[in-house]
């Protein structure tokens, strides 16, 4: 027979309720520890609300507290630390975790963007809006309970101003990300089709042609021409000839490489066309440099070989 108290609940029911609440609180603290947050309660010396997080999650006080709850806590303090949290605590902790992930600091933004990159095709802006809404709701919950703490940590800034910055940054970031995705799709669509699948090989053949041409020119220059002028003049002429001849070779330069540099430039807000053109120019410069190296090497090699066999400098 259980004894009834004044509030209509038996003592055991009251104890069970208190234990349940304490376990919920404990789950928050555990989650905070796992996530590496510091509870403000430690700093304040009495408020042990694990949901009112430190620097990352200070907006997210996800567990409303009541005076009776605090009373119950003090009664059951020694026991509850050894007990496991109940499944009831999961929604609260997961909500606070989600809210913490959507808070405005750069680390969590990166996490969101990484997640977004993993589900590139599915996730659209509407989903993001939902996530942002849930973030706002969580933040509103926090406003009810931890306004003092928030003001202490943010100074005099109102909460909306503080939220708008990260949200605006996130929007901007995501618009750039969409642009990067468009470029990616464009590059995928520009992949060589089966009928012109030999373009890579033909590009290689053009490259080999260039290298052999440079080497032959170097030999020719060493043997015949260089007594009259600089060795770089014929090389420049050859490069001009290559520019003209490149029309007659199949275009193999559609093979755009998606490098980290490309991604970084895209995410910095540089238009995709500019990047594509720059990369094209860069690759052409690389080709010319390679030709120059081969040309110069062959020239020196030829010159030294002729010198070794006793042929005088012209």
């Amino acid at each position: 027979m259980e004894q009834e108290d004044g509030g209509g609940l038996s003592a055991s029911q009251r104890r069970a309720e208190a234990r349940r609440r304490k376990l919920l609180l404990n789950s928050e603290q555990r989650m905070s520890q796992i996530m590496g947050f510091h509870s403000l309660g430690d700093a304040d010396g009495g408020d042990r609300d694990g949901a009112c997080l430190g620097s990352r999650g200070r907006d997210l006080c996800s567990w409303p507290r009541s005076p009776s709850h605090l009373d119950n806590e003090s009664k059951i303090e020694p026991k509850v630390h050894h007990e496991q949290p109940k499944p009831d605590s999961l929604p609260v902790s997961s909500m606070s975790k989600r809210g913490a992930n959507m808070s405005g600091d750069s680390a969590t933004l990166t996490g969101v963007s990484e997640h977004r990159s993993n589900v590139l095709s599915e996730v659209k802006r509407s989903n993001l809006g939902e996530i942002m809404d849930s973030f706002s709701k969580t933040a509103e919950m926090a406003n009810d309970n931890s306004s003092e703490l928030r003001h202490r940590h943010r100074g005099d800034l109102p909460s909306e101003t503080a939220e708008r910055g990260p949200r605006h940054g996130l929007d901007q970031y995501l618009s750039r990300f969409d642009e990067a995705l468009k470029l990616r799709n464009q590059m995928i669509s520009e992949k060589p089709s089966p009928e012109n699948g030999n373009s890579a090989e033909e590009f290689d053949s053009f490259r080999i042609f260039r290298l052999i041409g440079s080497a032959l020119l170097a030999i020719g220059v060493r043997v015949f021409i260089c007594k009259y002028l600089s060795i770089f003049a014929p090389f420049l002429t050859l490069q001009l000839a290559y520019m003209g001849l490149s029309k007659y070779f199949p275009k193999g330069d559609k093979k755009t490489k998606t490098t980290v540099l490309t991604a970084a430039l895209l995410l910095s807000g540089i238009p995709a066309e500019v990047i594509s053109r720059s990369m094209d120019t860069y690759s052409k410069m690389g080709d010319v440099f390679t030709d120059l190296c081969v040309y110069f090497f062959t020239f020196i090699f030829c010159h030294e070989t002729l010198g070794f066999f006793g042929l005088a400098v012209p």
Binding site: L211, S230, F289, C293, V294, F297, G307
Partner: protein, 176 residues
Amino acid sequence: MVHCSIMAASCAWLLVLSSVLLCNLLKILLPSFSSFISRLLQKDAEHESQMRAEIQNMKQELSAISMMDEFARYARLERKINKMTDKLKTNVKTRTAQLAKVKWVINIGFYILQAALMITLIWKYYLEPVTILPSKWITPLERLVAFPTGVTGGVGITCWLVVCNKVVSIMLVPLG
């Protein structure tokens, strides 16, 4: 003596070229070389294969035993198999860790040697060109080509190293 020194000076370009070629070749052969070295250093592989064969035999024997009729023998054999499997796992783990360490040491050693060789070459030919051409041949770029020697018409070590690296890497593309 003087003739030898002149020969050595005239072969500087070849020396640099050979060094670069050697380094690039070694870099290509480095994985197989480190595998060979680790195989030489580790003689446990035979022991491991022996253990594997033993485990296989015991498993065959275990499959021949009826668990209902000869439970004690079955359990004893199973325990033995488990013990040997654990031992084999530990051995393989140790050997893999050692292999990774050997490869790492060889790679690091190679890169240190390569850097030392390049620094030595640059140090040696810092002031004297690897080869000399008539200055009018390389007219607009003579200062760039001669860097850091400052000798008119000379080909500096920096330029020659860059050229050799590029050409050798192109030549070694078919070798992977």
